[in-house]
């Protein structure tokens, strides 16, 4: 990966973090709790994921570390230091989102004993793994159980079977994809590689398949301005054993990013109302943080090589 990428990714991440931090209260959960505001719950989870990745590998500057830490503290507080997650799981034990959410906090060093016990019990009973979910979501659950340590008394997941049940695992001809499938694909890679921590967990044939066709899908959705999906595809590239992205795609992302750090989800006009802006573009801004973080981590590991994608 080219070292021209690093300052670009740092800039994108820093601005995005600032925006998420500045507007975090627009994602507050309020008194009524998770069930009454699933959007806020989702946003808090995603923010925790992004902030955790910023802190994970030591590529962040001190200012970014402070922002990321405060975002995690805010999100965890909004979830009642884990109590709200626990209560949700007590009342809805077949739901898997609590363990998925919890895993991002565990990655960042947070714990809730009640959740540990209840999730472990449900995993040992097989309930967490049996709820009928999309195949890529099943990988999410398997990865979350592993990350939280709550799967230790459960049956070991059959990663190969779980992987081959996904769209990606079937290795179809590359034109059999649509927008929704694009997200299925990205999430499959995220969970399989634990957000880029374990690139070699990707089977070799899938890594080769992605290397071949990611440029096509990236180009396809770039052309129509689907920045959110493009950001996730860039992130996927960073999760491969041999990460390869084009500097042009990062430069475009940096140009698209607003001065305040917001990253627009698509080429539609961005609303002026702060609450609407947060609702519409928080996800894409989170994606930008994640994409940049994973790219920076991989950039750090790879010996500095002048890649052919660095442009003239």
């Amino acid at each position: 990966m080219s070292t021209v990428l690093a300052p670009l990714a740092h800039g994108i991440r820093s601005r995005a973090l600032h925006w998420l931090h500045a507007h975090r209260r627009l994602g507050a959960l309020g008194e009524a709790g998770i069930e009454k505001d699933l959007d806020a719950y989702k946003a808090l989870t995603e923010t925790a994921l992004a902030a955790g990745l910023v802190l994970r590998d030591g590529t962040a500057g001190s200012r970014e570390r402070v922002l990321a830490g405060e975002l995690l503290e805010f999100s965890w507080a909004q979830l009642g230091q884990g109590t709200r997650l626990y209560e949700r799981l007590v009342h809805h034990p077949m739901k898997t989102d609590p363990v998925e959410c919890y895993s991002h906090f565990v990655d960042a060093g947070y714990r809730h004993t009640g959740l540990d016990q209840l999730i472990s019990h449900l995993a040992a009973a097989g309930a967490a793994q049996a709820a009928e979910l999309l195949p890529n979501r099943r990988l999410a659950v398997a990865n979350a159980l592993r990350a939280t340590g709550c799967g230790h008394t459960a049956a070991v997941p059959d990663w190969e079977t779980l992987t081959r049940a996904t769209w990606l695992g079937r290795v179809l001809e590359p034109w059999h994809i649509d927008w929704e499938t694009g997200y299925d694909l990205t999430h499959t890679v995220f969970h399989l590689t634990d957000w880029g921590r374990r690139p070699h967990a990707l089977p070799a044939d899938l890594a080769a398949y992605l290397t071949h066709w990611l440029p096509v899908w990236t180009d396809l959705w770039t052309e129509v301005g689907e920045w959110d999906l493009v950001g996730e595809l860039l992130t996927v590239a960073g999760c491969l054993p041999d990460p390869h992205t084009e500097i042009d795609d990062w430069q475009r992302l940096a140009r698209l990013q607003h001065p305040d750090g917001l990253v627009p989800r698509d080429s539609d006009p961005v609303d002026d109302d702060p609450a609407t802006r947060f609702q519409d573009h928080q996800h894409t801004t989170v994606v930008a943080v994640i994409a940049a973080s994973i790219a920076l981590t991989r950039d750090l590991e790879t010996p500095a090589a002048t890649g052919p994608d660095s442009g003239p």
Binding site: E173, H244, D248, D309, P312
Partner: protein
């Protein structure tokens, strides 16, 4: 706009001619498609005058159609191993001499403009295939044009022309699109630097075809797929199932004209029968 109407007329004539060639390929139509096409145009009503005020006539469109299709118009004879009737050979020769191919290769892109250089290659293809089918024919000579820029799979995908320092190759997007424009060269019996570069550009061609399908541009997809089919016929391993690709384009994007002809030729190259 007169230019728009002329262009539409030329395109319509090409589509018509493609339908005729398709008929030969399927063994359904007549066997002197070009001759019939020109005669029909001569007998038909005059068309819009060109910018010079000269009545272009349907014949100009018909001749242009033959030149636009290039070797595609003779592909059925190559693929079905059918003898080229003398009147057909003569008709193609007329179309060649009416607007003679260039004697000297235009500069290849990025050094020179794309269009004249592409025409030089299509002309070369037509003349070469004609000479192969009818050695007695004496079409105007066509020079072997300069080779295209090479493709570099890891170059920025939209980079054109092979880089400013001439060192890096071209990105797969423009490179595969240009190969699509040269699809009439993807025929057995033709060999040139373009064919050599096709062998080196397998992934780029597969990416280009996939991108075109996903963009819903089935005509472009069919053109690029011509090369994939040609490579498959040559025994080159491919990262996509060309047979499935051809079927996909046929079911979702056939137009009964040039796209359908491209797919029919591709099927023949793959050793598959059927429309």
């Amino acid at each position: 706009m007169i230019a728009e109407r002329l262009r539409a007329a030329y395109e319509a004539s090409a589509a018509d001619l493609a339908r005729g060639a398709l008929g030969v390929l399927r063994g359904a139509g007549g066997t002197a498609v070009v001759a019939d096409h020109l005669e029909a145009a001569q007998a038909g009503p005059p068309m819009a005058a060109d910018a010079g005020g000269v009545d272009a006539g349907g014949v100009a469109a018909a001749v242009s159609a033959v030149r636009v299709l290039g070797a595609d118009v003779l592909a059925p004879y190559v693929l079905v191993d059918q003898r080229l009737p003398p009147e057909e050979s003569a008709a193609v020769c007329l179309c060649v001499s009416a607007l003679p191919p260039v004697r000297q290769s235009p500069a290849a892109p990025p050094g020179g403009p794309e269009a004249p250089w592409i025409r030089a290659w299509i002309d070369w293809g037509l003349v070469t295939v004609l000479a192969g089918l009818d050695p007695a024919a004496r079409p105007a000579a066509a020079v072997v044009p300069q080779q295209p820029p090479r493709c570099d799979d890891s170059a920025p995908r939209h980079r054109t022309g092979g880089g400013s320092d001439g060192d890096g190759g071209e990105g797969w997007v423009p490179w595969s699109l240009r190969m699509g424009q040269l699809a009439s060269l993807a025929l057995p019996g033709l060999d040139s630097p373009v064919h050599h570069l096709a062998r080196c550009g397998v992934l780029a061609l597969a990416r280009g075809a996939t991108r075109a399908v996903l963009r819903g541009d089935f005509a472009t997809a069919a053109r690029i797929t011509r090369w994939l089919a040609w490579l498959a016929a040559d025994g080159v391993p491919l990262p996509v199932n060309v047979s499935l690709l051809v079927r996909e384009i046929a079911l979702r994007g056939h137009d009964g004209g040039r796209c359908t002809l491209d797919l029919a030729i591709a099927r023949r190259l793959l050793g598959e029968e059927g429309p």
